[in-house]
Symmetry: C2
Subunit: 396 residues, 2 copies
């Protein structure tokens, strides 16, 4: 039997990051390739108590079918939190609970993108999102990212040159993979450009709470008086990713269609993770937990940057993130970081080559992504020392 794969999926590959994870399984290898949050920060004991309690006291709610929109009290808690912490939510908006931020992005794409339609993405951008767009036959058009976010002149050029643009996908805060944050001025201008051209914005904000100095840049969604912004959020980086809990806040008409797509996809998000998040927010202090995360990641990021300052060749450039999980590093000199990853693996250290995050993943790329969130200080320093050796060798 020969199996014919659909056109939309036939060219889709698994994430290259997964391939790299095979090497990372070797305990002697130091992985700077991941994107996992630090598991030491998971509130496991609290969640254990909550799980036992909700299964004892509300077994039917926890175990029977739920509604597609999400568990009512969780939706209300998220709406209240979004209003309080991000100034998000108007009469025109609605919210659906999804199985991780990834699902919100996939469902929105299924609902809005026809084959051949254009999705504008930051370049580099998160491969989970770009793959979701590709899997529905979207044509990706990239806009370069600068230290204060998307290059808006390039964006306007791209808009002028393309038709059937469905939305602009952006991670404005502590961007994956670059770690940079779009300035308030650019956010306002991006909003105006989108509005003027009748194009939606998909704002993805999984890292926004992980600000090292506590300063938060206003979300684009908080500026949305015209119903043009769809906002994707997640509990993965502020509670625990294994729960697979995210949410999408967007104009009612769009959410109504996303609810239909979600019903077709998996009926509803599992109840127990929804109940855990609801009760954790009700009984514990999520802001205090996030504060611990901020301090932890700020320390790790600073440790990695100090090591990079010490061990990396002087003409390599890298971002200095104000939050989130990633540092973006450009080797320049026409180097190929995919090719170079073999030398890194030989030195028992892995990173994610930059081509992974590009529209054209087959094109040579001199950049790479580094992650600091799960490693000990010692391993961060040792990993960077090993990488420094590889880079010095390559630049000889």
């Amino acid at each position: 039997m020969e199996y014919t794969i659909s056109n939309r999926m036939s060219t889709m590959r698994g994430s290259a990051i997964r391939e790299i994870f095979k090497y990372a399984a070797d305990p002697s290898v130091i992985s700077l390739a991941g994107g996992n949050p630090n598991p030491e920060l998971f509130p496991a004991e609290a969640l254990a108590d909550i799980a036992a309690k909700v299964l004892h006291e509300s077994p039917v709610t926890a175990l029977q079918y739920g509604i597609t929109e999400g568990y009512g009290p969780l939706r209300e808690a998220i709406k209240a939190r979004l209003d309080r912490t991000e100034g998000i939510g108007t009469e025109n908006d609605d919210l659906i609970v999804v199985s991780g931020g990834q699902q919100g992005i996939e469902l929105v794409t299924k609902c809005l993108v026809n084959e051949g339609d254009v999705v504008i993405v930051e370049e580099p951008s998160f491969i989970g999102a770009t793959n979701a767009f590709r899997s529905y036959g979207a044509k990706l058009v990239g806009v370069p990212v600068e230290s204060d976010g998307m290059n808006l002149d390039a964006l306007e050029k791209v808009i002028a040159e393309n038709k059937n643009i469905r939305f602009i996908y952006t991670i404005p805060t502590f961007q994956n993979p670059m770690g940079v944050t779009m300035s308030v001025e650019k956010r306002k201008k991006l909003y105006d450009i989108a509005l003027k051209n009748g194009i939606l914005i998909l704002e993805d904000n999984p890292y926004g709470e992980l600000t090292f100095d506590g300063v938060k840049t206003p979300t684009i969604k908080s500026m949305d008086k015209d119903g043009i912004v769809m906002y994707s959020g997640s509990f993965s980086k502020i509670l625990a990713p294994g729960l697979r809990l995210g949410f999408l806040c967007a104009p009612r008409e769009i959410i109504a269609k996303v609810v239909v797509a979600k019903q077709i996809s998996d009926v509803h998000t599992p109840m127990l993770p929804q109940l855990l998040a609801t009760e954790y927010m009700a009984q514990f202090d999520l802001d205090a937990l996030i504060l611990k995360m901020r301090e932890n990641y700020a320390h790790k990021c600073s440790t990695m940057l100090s090591a990079m300052d010490e061990y990396f060749p002087k003409d390599i450039t890298y971002t200095r993130p104000g939050g989130g999980l990633f540092i973006w590093c450009d080797l320049g000199h026409d180097l190929d970081t995919l090719e170079l990853s073999k030398a890194a693996i030989a030195e028992k250290v892995v990173y994610v080559p930059g081509n992974t995050f590009m529209v054209d993943m087959d094109k040579k790329c001199s950049s790479l992504r580094l992650n600091y969130s799960t490693m000990s200080d010692e391993k961060i320093v040792e990993g960077i020392r090993r990488l420094g050796t590889v880079f010095h060798q390559a630049l000889k």
Copy 2:
């Protein structure tokens, strides 16, 4: 702002069953419309203990990102169970854990069906599946179902008349909505027809374990020596649906692509539900739990059939299921069960009109689906008595 929905989703509506559930929320209304398992049978105490234990003892496994294929020990436990209870699994097969049977069906469709391709479905069939096919632009072609399963002459005719047939979707055991079971002879013949024509079969078996007399008809997948059957299974009806746990067992090449689609859809199934199912199967007797379910549903089904024998007009026909959750009832006389549902709601009883399960949902239908799994004996009898009144009136 005007929102343009993608072609594939623009005509998709929410399930009609959901609309009916609005009436069912009124406690004075007796709902025979649901498809939920009986929550009294959920092993909530055991799951509460397991949840607390795994979160205490394996917090990182329970809360960190997992792999897309599913939690290793759960995959192994499911494979072992499929081998033991269904004779399913060859060297050529692989298995992925999904977020409920619905997700396996949706992902397979995304991976295999191009817009305009044909999916052959039993008529009537499960709306969750038919909507998944519709949402990728499949052309549905129906094959009538008889008391011993699909009409295979009609199937051969449909195959001869159509091109680009991607697969045949069947629920051979205790079919939703009819409650009938395909005979072994028909299963063998269906397999041969599919093989001869190079067409895949998607076998959906969420109810197979719920056999009232303990007799199990061999699955079509157990006959699969040629790699043409994809098998969708679920924990929803044998453990608890709120966990959203299912699995798909199919040829390796297909599973490999489904894994990519699942990664794009939601990265992986939440870990805690996966750990609960794994530990429940390891520490408790799932077969004993299923035996309790069989007895419970056998009793409820028999109670409903007796009431139907007593209260329904004599020339109304209905199926007498050997398992599962549903009875299918045909009023004949060119009646319209969608229209008639208004009279039923006035009598404070609801069912699902048969048109919901048809390829052409707008066509008048004289059949309807009844469910007995969650109601008390008294409510089953009273609900059927009320329906009997409505039907006698309609047939006057």
